[in-house]
C-alpha cells in the first residue's frame, strides 16, 4: 500500500497540500509542547530541562516502531521509503555546527519558525541568520564541495551496517531510550538550580 506517493496513490500535487496540513499540525504540536521557548531547548545542553530530548526520542521511537509494524502487516513497504544518503564527514561537521547553532540561538530551525509565528523577535532574528547562512553556504560551496561529498556511504541503514535484524536493533533502541528517560529525569533534578524563569 504505502508509501502513497511513490506507489502513485497520491499525486505529487496532493502531496503538497497534505504536507501543508501536516506541517501546520507539527507546528501546533511543537508550540503546545513548549518548544517555542528557547530556554527549554537550551535546557537540554545545561541539563535542567530534558523534555526536548524525551519528546524527540519518543517521536523517533513511535515512528520507527510504527513503520516496523506497518511494514510487517503490509501497510507500507519500507524498502520504498526514501533514505537520506550518508556522507559521514560532512554529517559530523554539520551536526557539530547545528548543535552550536541551537545552543547559541536557543532554537532549532523548526522551532524557530514556531516561535516566530507567535511573535518572538529572537526567533525572527534566528530565521534571518538561517537565511544568511544558507546564502553563504551556497556562495562558498565550490570551495567545500569536495569535503561536502566526502565519506559517501550511500543509503545505509544502521541495523544493516551492524548486521542485525531491524527488530532486534529496535529492541535495543527501546531499552536505550528507557534508560535515557530515567537518566534525563535524574539530571533534571540535579541541575534544577540552573533553571531561571
Amino acid at each position: 500500500m504505502g508509501p502513497l506517493i511513490i506507489q502513485g496513490l497520491i499525486s505529487p500535487e496532493w502531496n503538497f497540500i497534505i504536507a501543508f496540513f501536516i506541517g501546520i499540525g507539527f507546528g501546533v504540536a511543537l508550540e503546545q509542547g513548549g518548544f517555542s521557548s528557547s530556554r527549554r531547548l537550551a535546557g537540554v545542553f545545561y541539563g535542567y530541562d530534558m523534555v526536548v530530548l524525551r519528546v524527540f526520542m519518543t517521536a523517533v521511537l513511535t515512528a520507527s516502531v510504527g513503520l516496523f509494524i506497518f511494514n510487517y502487516i503490509g501497510w507500507i513497504d519500507t524498502e520504498l521509503v526514501f533514505v537520506n544518503p550518508t556522507f559521514l564527514w560532512s554529517a559530523i561537521v554539520g551536526g557539530a555546527f547545528i548543535g552550536l547553532g541551537i545552543i547559541l540561538g536557543g532554537f532549532c530551525p523548526g522551532t524557530s519558525f514556531v516561535a516566530a509565528s507567535i511573535g518572538k523577535i529572537d526567533a525572527m532574528a534566528y530565521i534571518g541568520g538561517t537565511v544568511v547562512g544558507v546564502f553563504l553556504f551556497a556562495e562558498i560551496f565550490p570551495l567545500i564541495e569536495e569535503f561536502y561529498k566526502s565519506g559517501s556511504l550511500g543509503k545505509i541503514k544502521i541495523f544493516d551496517t551492524l548486521g542485525m535484524k531491524a527488530g532486534v536493533f529496535l529492541f535495543i533502541f527501546i531499552v536505550m531510550a528507557l534508560i535515557i528517560y530515567y537518566v534525563s529525569a535524574v539530571l533534571e533534578k540535579k541541575y534544577a538550580h540552573r533553571r531561571r524563569e
Binding site: G8, L61, F68, I69, N71, E79, K165, I174, L178, Y181
Partner: protein, 215 residues
C-alpha cells in the same frame, strides 16, 4: 504514588508497555515486500512487442536444445496432458497465485529465473498475456509470450500453406525451415489424440538460494 524521587508508578507502567512492544518487534521477522511494477510502466511494456517470441525462434531453440528457455504451458492440466510443446512444464493460469504454507508464491522460483528465460504459451495469446502481466506486476521480468500461441504454432509448422511459385528467397528459406521443424516434431497433421505426453511435473516451491555472507 512515587517509587523513588524520579519515577512515578505511571512511568513504570508506560515503560513496561514500551518494553513489551520492543520484545514484540524483536521477535517479529523482518518482512520484505514484493515490489510491484507501477501501472504506468506496465502500460508502456504492454504497448511494445518486446514480450513476444516468435514460433520460429522457439522452434529453433527447441531444436538446438537451447537451455536458455524454459517453456511454460499456462493452460489447464487436461489440455496440457493432451498436447504440449517438448520440455514444457505446466503452470495453469488459475494456479499462478497459489501460495505455500510459509506464505511464499508457489511458483516464484520458476517465474523469476536468474539467467534463463521463460516462454509462456496458451492456445491463443490471451491467457499467456494475462499470465505475463501478473508476472510483470510481481517484478518477474524474464518471461516472454509465444506469439500467436499454440494455434499459430500449428498453423505455420503442422499445416503450412504451400509456397507460391513466385516466392522470394526469404519466403523459400522460411518455408524450408518450417518444413524442417515439422519433420523434427514428427511431421504431418498432428492431432491432439496422436501425441500425448507424460507431463513433466515441476518440483513445487523450489526456493531461490539466498546470497550468504558478503561484505
Amino acid at each position: 504514588m512515587k517509587i523513588n524521587e524520579h519515577i512515578k508508578a505511571k512511568h513504570i507502567y508506560i515503560s513496561l508497555i514500551v518494553f513489551a512492544l520492543g520484545v514484540l518487534v524483536a521477535v517479529l521477522p523482518d518482512k520484505k515486500h514484493k515490489n510491484e511494477l507501477p501501472p504506468d510502466k506496465l502500460v508502456l511494456k504492454l504497448t511494445g512487442d518486446s514480450r513476444f517470441i516468435t514460433a520460429e525462434q522457439l522452434a529453433q531453440a527447441i531444436i538446438d536444445k537451447d537451455i536458455k528457455y524454459q517453456i511454460i504451458d499456462v493452460r489447464t492440466p487436461e489440455a496440457y496432458a493432451k498436447y504440449s510443446l517438448p520440455g514444457a512444464i505446466n503452470i495453469p493460469l488459475d494456479n499462478l497465485l497459489n501460495k505455500t504454507k510459509s506464505g511464499d508464491y508457489e511458483w516464484e522460483a520458476y517465474l523469476n529465473p536468474d539467467v534463463s528465460a521463460n516462454v509462456l504459451y496458451s492456445n491463443g495469446e490471451i491467457h499467456a498475456n494475462q499470465f505475463w502481466v501478473l508476472c510483470q506486476r510481481f517484478g518477474y521480468t524474464n518471461n516472454y509470450v509465444l506469439k500467436g500461441g499454440l494455434n499459430n504454432w500449428f498453423d505455420i509448422f503442422m499445416n503450412p500453406k504451400s509456397l507460391s511459385p513466385n516466392a522470394s528467397d526469404d519466403e523459400k528459406a522460411n518455408y524450408e525451415f518450417r518444413n524442417g521443424v515439422r519433420s523434427y516434431f514428427g511431421g504431418g497433421q498432428q492431432t491432439s489424440s496422436t501425441q500425448t505426453n507424460t507431463p513433466t511435473k515441476p518440483i513445487k516451491s523450489k526456493k531461490k538460494k539466498q546470497v550468504e555472507g558478503g561484505c
